[in-house]
Amino acid sequence: MLAAFTWTEFAQQLAAGIREGAIYAGLALAIVIIYRSTRVINFAQGEMATFTTFIAWSLMNHGLSFWTAFPIVLAVAFAGGVAIERIVIHPVANASVVTIVIVTLGLALLLNGLTSVIWGGESRQFKGPFSTRTIDVGGVPISVQDIGIVVVSIGLVALLALFFRYTKLGLALRAAAVNPESSRLVGIRVGWMLALGWGIAAVLGAVAGMMIAPVVFLDPNMMQTILLYAFAAAVLGGLDSPVGAVVGGILLGVTITMLGRYVGFIGSTLKLPAALVLIFVLLLVRPGGLFGRVAERRV
């Protein structure tokens, strides 16, 4: 069952796992932000990210450099996220969980179809901001791109943590999610806080998409498996914890890569189911995930 073992290879697998994990973490962060601020699971997160990444591709195709296109894409993503919350999510905010799930699923389908219709279904290359050359870290070749992805993910979560904890707007966002009634009484415009949450999440997704596309090639279905891993990472870390999303992502990435490489039975076909079984078992033991807080309800 266990394959031959060398330290170099282990380090390489570890690095690959961390890189994989950082990819899930980016999208997981977006999922957590939306859940935290609006108590909704956004099944369209992946498709939103794909759509914005395609916009980036189009801009770069028309001659803009990555870093020129970057802020434009973020602005578009923000506006899109806000618009989606106001137009599609807000009307069903008080409906049953099932209805809201179905609406975000519908959104996912719609965006996926729209992406295909506008840009076609073929894979294409996406030139990212980091070079693909490798550097030697203690005998282990690691690509600059991988390092870049990890740094960006961790940077994002740090920024977000600071934002939520220390700024007035961050506090207002948290308050609106926790107690909308009382929030209104202290003067917070709850509706716009919810929209802001979606805007921020859309921006996070856009960044994640632009980080991932150079690695996996850009096509309309690019985010589908990643979305699932991202959900797993978010649940693992605790659905309302941004730190949990990143820790969960990296933990998940490393675990899956290791299992896939060293446990022959799992190989590459059963990586996904293996991840799910792990998460499932964890949820049975810790319903809130690693860092999450769940209101205990005893009946």
Binding site: Y35, I41, F43, V88, P91, V92, A95, S96, V97, V98, T99, V101, I102, V103, L105, G106, L107, A108, L109, L110, L111, N112, G113, L114, T115, S116, V117, G121, P220, Q224, T225, L228, F231, A232, V235, L239, G267, T269, L270, L272, P273, L276, I279, F280, L283, L284, P287, R297, V299
Partner: protein
């Protein structure tokens, strides 16, 4: 109350007559299409019991259909100890095996609340297609398994497609009756109580564990039967026959048909089938709108239309077709 009961039974009788008569008026190919709609209908009935009536979201029911379909395939191709089983008899077996799988999922699912359950079942839907690839010796891998073409029994002289139609809709009507009586009775009330408030239901003595797992098992049974019929009709199974998106389509069909309705799910089933296989018609129809120039063959069109329909229906008609009908006829039967 009695009036409503008689109206519903009368409606059922009318439905049965219509179902029996339809093949006489439609082409053979149409009969096949309607058979497949019937299979989706069966799956949706089960999903309605689970999601509509007991409030548990499942985004993975395609996997239970796959279990049913693969059971039928394995039993009729590999057989038991080399003894191949005729496709008809595999249907109940497939249902039961899928049902047991449902119970096995339902049990740990008790610990998960709405959104977490949705995510886990979604994960099941995504993981499931990997299994036939892994156990390819037994389950046929990516190429899958090929079954014999469905034959009408007892040498009845009817076409294959008509036979599938009658088989499917016969089973569908029986299962509809079963679902209807379940929902009307004590179990149905317990399920609805659980959906509306688990705390209140439990405090009233309703065993959450028993009814929630039961709902999972029953809905999985229905999906398994549907999957089994689907395998028989297709005469082959492989991972692409039960793709990930199928689970999403089932939820779509449920929402549009009416979350806790039964008969109107036929509309939902029809929608699933129509959008999957007649997307080009939709695109051509959409092209009549000004400023739109869509290539009907574009792969994105079904998803685009599906998604838009879903959003619009949920925004305007959260109760789906069933909810609309209830509002219209509620006043007729004097029900508020």
């Amino acid at each position: 109350m009695r009036l409503r009961l008689w109206l519903e039974l009368a409606g059922f009788a009318v439905l049965a007559v219509v179902v029996a008569a339809v093949p006489r008026f439609v082409s053979d190919f149409r009969a096949r299409e309607l058979a497949i709609v019937g299979m989706y209908f069966i799956a949706l009935l089960g999903l309605s019991i689970l999601t509509g009536h007991s409030g548990q979201i499942s985004l993975g029911h395609g996997a239970f259909m796959a279990i049913g379909g693969y059971t039928t395939a394995v039993l009729s191709v590999n057989g038991v100890y080399g003894h191949q089983i005729r496709d008809l008899w595999t249907i109940p077996i497939a249902g039961v095996i899928a049902g047991v799988a449902g119970l096995l999922v339902g049990l740990p699912a008790l610990r998960l609340s709405g959104l977490y359950l949705a995510l886990i079942t979604f994960g099941i839907a995504v993981s499931f297609p990997q299994l036939p690839k892994k156990f390819d010796h037994f389950l046929g891998g990516t190429t899958g398994k090929i079954l014999a073409l469905p034959r009408p029994p007892f040498g009845l002289s009817t076409t294959t497609n008509n036979w599938m139609y009658y088989l499917t809709w016969g089973i569908a009507l029986v299962l509809l009756l079963a679902a209807w009586s379940l929902v009307r009775g004590k179990t149905g009330r317990a399920l609805k109580a659980i959906r509306d408030s688990e705390v209140a239901a439990a405090s009233s003595g309703v065993s959450l564990a028993k009814y929630k797992t039961l709902a999972f098992g029953i809905s999985a049974f229905y999906a398994g039967v549907a999957g089994s019929l689907y395998a028989i009709a297709n005469a082959y199974v492989n991972p692409d026959v039960f793709p990930i998106i199928l689970s999403v389509y089932l939820v779509v069909g449920l929402a549009v048909g009416g979350l806790d309705s039964l008969v109107t799910l036929i509309a939902g089933a029809g929608l699933i089938y129509f959008l999957q296989n007649h997307a080009d018609t939709v695109a051509r129809w959409l092209n009549h709108l000004p400023a739109l120039n869509l290539d009907p063959k574009q792969p994105g069109i079904p998803s685009l239309v599906f998604g838009a329909v879903l959003i619009v229906v949920m925004l305007l008609l959260p109760g789906g077709a069933g909810g609309l009908l209830r509002r219209l006829f509620g006043s007729l039967t004097g029900r508020r």
